[in-house]
Structure formats: structure tokens, C-alpha cells
């Protein structure tokens, strides 16, 4: 089986488990919703302030959702030593990184749809001004977050790892995605999509770097 076939098999397995466990729907989405409502209440009733902070809140919710989804992607590998099965399978170990990255990205995209609608409703975010730019920012940001989550999620399954390992690694590394995503979203929703090109470029560069690095080094992380 090729690297693509192995990756697809791992992604399909993860998504099947996710659909049956309903973790994203039952835990991550309520968490993101609570986060948005809490921030909305703390910022007060001013419509202008809420609209200005909406892109940031949207991406914060996406970022935290990505950390939870990445943690979950490896959690079921540790339930009864399943990760060892992947280690001992004679496959290209990059397939585990890519497969899990695909599964995390698919879950995140589904969550983002709900989060965007929630932010739009709560904070009056204008989605129709430049929808393509908004979709591009979310798509590119999702790939980057999924790559970082898939790469470092495996470390949280290490024997001596603690719960905090994943957020401690992912949150600082994902800062460029957060900054570029917020800026591109703010420009897209403010009707200045033409100025968002450089931020989308930054997201694309981040994706290329982390997908490449992950593909190259994941096998080493898994073996160690």
C-alpha cells in the first residue's frame, strides 16, 4: 500500500472513531461555544467592540478546538496500546502524521462551520463581504493547526508526558496561524479582502513548513 493509501486508511479509521464517539460534537463544540459566550459577556454590549474583536475570538475558539481535537486524535491510540500497533506496522511512519492530520483537519473544518455561524450570530461578523478570502483563511489555517497538532499530539502519549504537554507545545507554535488568521479574517469581513494576500501567504508558508517538517521527522518522534 502506498503512503497515500496508508494515510487515507488511518484518517478513515480516526474519523470513524470520532463519528461514533461524538467527541467533537459533544465536547469540543460546547467548549468553543462557551468560550465565545463568556468572552462576549465579558466584553459588554457595545456592538462596535464586539464586531472588532470577533475575528480574534473566532480564531481563539478554532485554536483551542484544534488542541482538543489533536489530543483526542492520539488519546484512542493510548487506550490499549494501539499506538504500538502503528509503530510495529511496516508502513511509512509519515502516513500516521498525514492520516491523523487529515482527520484533525476534517473535524476542525466541520467545527469551524458551526463556530463561524456562532460568531456571526453573536458578534455580528459579516460573512458575505468576501467569503472566498474568509474560506481561504480558515482552510489554510486549519491545515497548519492540524499539522502542528498531528506532529506534537504523539508526544502527549509518551509514557511520562502530562496533559499540559500538548497545549504548551502547540499554542506558542500556532501563534503565526492565529495572527495571520485574525488579520485575514478582519480584512475579509471589513471589505478589504485585497489587502489579505500577504496574510494568506503567511498561512500557506506555515502549512508548507509544518507539513514538510512533520512528514520528515514524525517517524523519529514515534520511534522515540
Amino acid at each position: 500500500m502506498t503512503l497515500v493509501g496508508q494515510s487515507v486508511a488511518i484518517a478513515a479509521k480516526d474519523l470513524r472513531i470520532e463519528v461514533r464517539g461524538r467527541y467533537a460534537l459533544g465536547s469540543v463544540l460546547p467548549f468553543a461555544g462557551t468560550l465565545l459566550v463568556a468572552f462576549g459577556l465579558s466584553l459588554g454590549p457595545g456592538r462596535t467592540l464586539l464586531a472588532e474583536t470577533a475575528p480574534g475570538l473566532l480564531w481563539l475558539a478554532v485554536l483551542f478546538a484544534s488542541v482538543l481535537s489533536s489530543r483526542r486524535a492520539y488519546e484512542h491510540e493510548g487506550e490499549d496500546g494501539a499506538l504500538e500497533g502503528l509503530l510495529l506496522a511496516p508502513i511509512d511512519k509519515a502516513a500516521v502524521f498525514i492520516g491523523k492530520g487529515i482527520a484533525i483537519a476534517v473535524q476542525l473544518l466541520a467545527l469551524e462551520l458551526a463556530i463561524v455561524l456562532l460568531v456571526s450570530g453573536l458578534f455580528d461578523l459579516s460573512l458575505a463581504v468576501a467569503p472566498l478570502t474568509l474560506v481561504a483563511a480558515l482552510f489554510l489555517g486549519t491545515i497548519g493547526l492540524a499539522a502542528v497538532g498531528s506532529l506534537f499530539g504523539v508526544l502527549a502519549e509518551a509514557p511520562r508526558a502530562r496533559e499540559a504537554v500538548l497545549p504548551l507545545l502547540v499554542l506558542p507554535l500556532a501563534t503565526p496561524v492565529l495572527i495571520a488568521g485574525v488579520r485575514a479574517t478582519a480584512l475579509a469581513t471589513a471589505g478589504r479582502a485585497g489587502e489579505a494576500g500577504s496574510w494568506l501567504g503567511l498561512l500557506l508558508a506555515f502549512d508548507l513548513v509544518f507539513v514538510s517538517v512533520g512528514t520528515l521527522v514524525f517517524g523519529f518522534l514515534l520511534e522515540e
Binding site: G81, L88, P90
Partner: protein
């Protein structure tokens, strides 16, 4: 080979040769290092010091070649709770390049054909062990590493394990069996005894 876990030695200067087609029986008390030995041979753990070859392949440099030819059945079943028995085996087929058509026969052999479409989360420990055994039977590995394969199994399932070992040996394949069950492994060509990480007999 030596394998150290932090400051604690799991395997201490173990030196071992197994002839192809033989059954090697590994005995010893809990914590003696039996599982560590099998996991090092099966490339689940790398030796901290020392070197070795399995089926003619270097343990450090040719791990994937060893993994293609080896099956390690350990304490943990490595199953996904939210997948069915058949889905777990189909995933193993995808990872090991085995035809999916092997799944029904493997499940039938361990007596689980009727629950193939049920999720593993509803299975007893014995049934899970059977699914893990079925996964091991999907392939015909040149080296079978069985770490306490009888634990948690009923008499019928133990017979299935015995039959799998007998079949492997009849095919000229090699089996390393670690067990506390004194009634098993009677056909072993050789027995080693381990204690505190060392091969002592």
C-alpha cells in the same frame, strides 16, 4: 543487549540465539524481563546498549524488515474500542498489506464470527484477547513473539493458541513464548529462565 528504563534495568546483558523453526520458551517471575526481551526482539523497544539481529536483520538499522516478518502479541490488545472486531482486523490488514478477505476466516478461527460487527468496547477481556489473536493469525509471520498469550483466555481459546503455535512450528516458523502457564510449551526446543532482567538459566 541491555535495556534500561530510567534508572531501572529491564534487560541486563541478555545474549541469546534462537534457531529458525524452534520454539523458545521464556520463563521467570513477574518483572523478570520477559516482556522487555520480547519487545526488544519485536522492535517495540530499542536496546539501550548492545546489538542484535532478528531473522538476519539488524535490530537497529532494519527494523521495518523485522516488523514485516514478525508478530508481537503482548499484554495489551492494541484494539480500538469504538471499532468493531472486523473493523479492527481490516485496519490491521491495511497496515500490513494483507487482503481483507482474510478477516472472516481469522475471526471464525477464534470463535468470534458471530460478533464480528460488534464494537470491541462491549467485549470481555477474554474476547478482546481473542480478537488480538485473530489479528496475529491474519498473517503468517516468520517469527511469532507471544507474551503471556494464555492470560485471560478460557480453555477453548487456549487450545486455539496452542494450535496456532503448532501450525507455525509445522511451517518451519519460529516462536518465542513467554508464559507462566506450566502446562504450556511442552514442545519447546529450549527453555530460558529470566530473573531481574537477566537470563539466569
Amino acid at each position: 543487549m541491555t535495556r534500561v528504563f530510567g534508572a531501572a534495568p529491564g534487560l541486563v546483558r541478555a545474549s541469546l540465539t534462537v534457531e529458525r523453526g524452534d520454539l523458545l520458551l521464556v520463563r521467570g517471575p513477574n518483572g523478570a524481563g520477559k516482556s522487555t526481551l520480547l519487545r526488544v526482539i519485536g522492535t517495540a523497544l530499542a536496546p539501550t546498549y548492545g546489538s542484535g539481529a532478528v531473522l538476519g536483520f539488524d535490530l537497529a538499522l532494519e527494523r521495518d524488515e523485522i516488523r514485516r516478518r514478525t508478530e508481537l502479541l503482548g499484554h495489551r490488545t492494541r484494539l480500538y474500542e469504538d471499532l468493531t472486531a472486523a473493523e479492527n482486523l481490516r485496519f490491521a490488514c491495511a497496515m500490513h498489506g494483507v487482503a481483507l478477505s482474510a478477516v472472516p476466516a481469522a475471526l471464525a478461527r477464534v470463535g468470534l464470527a458471530d460478533v464480528a460487527k460488534e464494537r470491541v468496547s462491549g467485549f470481555s477481556q477474554g474476547m478482546r484477547q481473542r480478537v488480538a489473536l485473530a489479528r496475529a493469525l491474519l498473517r503468517r509471520p516468520e517469527l511469532l513473539l507471544l507474551d503471556e498469550p494464555y492470560a485471560g483466555l478460557d480453555a477453548e481459546a487456549k487450545e486455539i493458541v496452542d494450535a496456532a503455535i503448532a501450525e507455525a512450528l509445522a511451517d518451519g516458523r519460529t516462536v518465542v513464548l513467554a508464559t507462566h502457564d506450566l502446562q504450556r510449551g511442552g514442545t519447546a526446543a529450549r527453555t530460558i529462565v529470566m530473573d531481574q532482567g537477566r537470563i539466569v538459566g
